[in-house]
């Protein structure tokens, strides 16, 4: 793949990753390791798992997620993350915009491919 295309992919990932994190937290609270594994299950979404932690920290500071500590059956207590109201409305807003954007790009890219 061309270098600029790699950079573009990295940009797209960076821009959308936080909404994937918010989506994973939409229905249930999760702790860091669980969340990272959930993201990494999808091929191509996360290239370095460690970068999720600073992202989580920023989402917390921005008030989009909140966290609390819970005892774990094995090992030290875990910090569980859950969506705040603000996080939920940010996710809803993004979902709308994303669908519009995705459909628009598909409209052009898919058409030329099917020809």
């Amino acid at each position: 793949m061309v270098a600029t295309q790699d950079a573009l992919l990295a940009q797209m990932r960076r821009g959308t990753l936080q909404y994937c994190v918010l989506s994973l937290l939409a229905d249930e609270e999760r702790y860091g390791f669980d969340l990272v594994r959930g993201l990494a299950e999808m091929d191509g979404m996360v290239t370095s798992e460690g970068t999720i932690y600073p992202l989580l920290s920023r989402l917390r500071r921005d008030g989009l997620v909140e966290s609390n500590w819970q005892e774990s059956p094995s090992g030290p207590p875990r910090r569980y993350y859950r969506l705040t109201e603000r996080g939920r409305s940010a996710l809803d807003g993004f979902r709308l915009e994303w669908r519009r954007f995705r459909d628009a790009v598909d409209h052009f890219v898919e058409r030329t491919e099917s020809k």
Binding site: Q11, G32, F33, S48, T51, Y53, S57, R78, R79
Partner: protein, 213 residues
């Protein structure tokens, strides 16, 4: 648990700690702890832990430099643009305060007015703080200094020969009680002016801190 695997993880965490050197220490500690717990949990899930397994695991965690870059904040496109703007406004803010206090003394009226304009175009203060900076004290130190000059020129004494009398000292001062009240007013104006500028200077620092967090 093999010691070479332990050493690999240790080296990785050390590198991460170094890469995060410019982060606030509380955030750095939290990140290193979370990532070290993540690694521990991933290792616990391995069936048999070989050195290659641990290397793969650390590869998946990613380069500590990438993690530190993410911790430093938004993408590289926006970060450099934001910094110079802040610095430039910082210098202008300081200039505003200096001109508000002393501008009127150096260039009467105009020097202070330039300070007022800089104060109002700045984003370092709230509207209330700007109003305070404008009204306390109009002209800055120029007002008390001007009053002082006026008072001393009025109260100058000069000798005037009066016929039929010996040399007589003539003073045009408003009397000693007037003088005391005058100097109190001058001192209060100067103190209020300086106090306002000091207050605005401290707010500027604090507002900037809030913006940075």
């Amino acid at each position: 648990m093999s010691t070479s695997a332990d050493r690999l993880v240790e080296e990785y965490l050390d590198r991460l700690e170094r890469e995060l050197a410019d982060c606030p220490s509380a955030r750095r500690r939290e990140l290193v702890q979370e990532i070290s717990e993540h690694i521990a949990e991933a290792r616990a899930g391995l069936d048999s832990e070989t050195e290659a397994d641990v290397r793969n695991l650390l590869d998946r965690m990613g380069d500590p430099a990438d993690i530190a870059a993410e911790a430093r904040g938004p993408g590289p496109e926006t970060a450099p643009a934001a910094v110079p703007v802040e610095r430039r406004s910082g210098a202008l803010d300081v200039a505003a305060l200096i001109l508000l206090l002393l501008g009127g003394v150096v260039i009467p009226v105009i020097g202070w007015l330039v300070g007022v304009v800089l104060l109002w175009i700045s984003s370092a203060w709230t509207a209330r703080q700007k109003l305070l900076g404008t009204l306390v004290v109009p002209g800055g130190l120029a007002l008390p200094v001007g009053l002082l000059v006026l008072a001393t020129s009025e109260s100058t004494c000069y000798q005037q020969p009066i016929p039929g009398a010996r040399d007589h000292m003539l003073c045009t001062s408003g009397g000693s009680s007037g003088e005391i009240i005058g100097s109190i007013v001058v001192a209060l104006l100067a103190a209020a002016s300086i106090a306002t500028i000091v207050y605005l200077g401290r707010r500027m620092g604090r507002n900037a801190e809030v913006a940075a967090v």
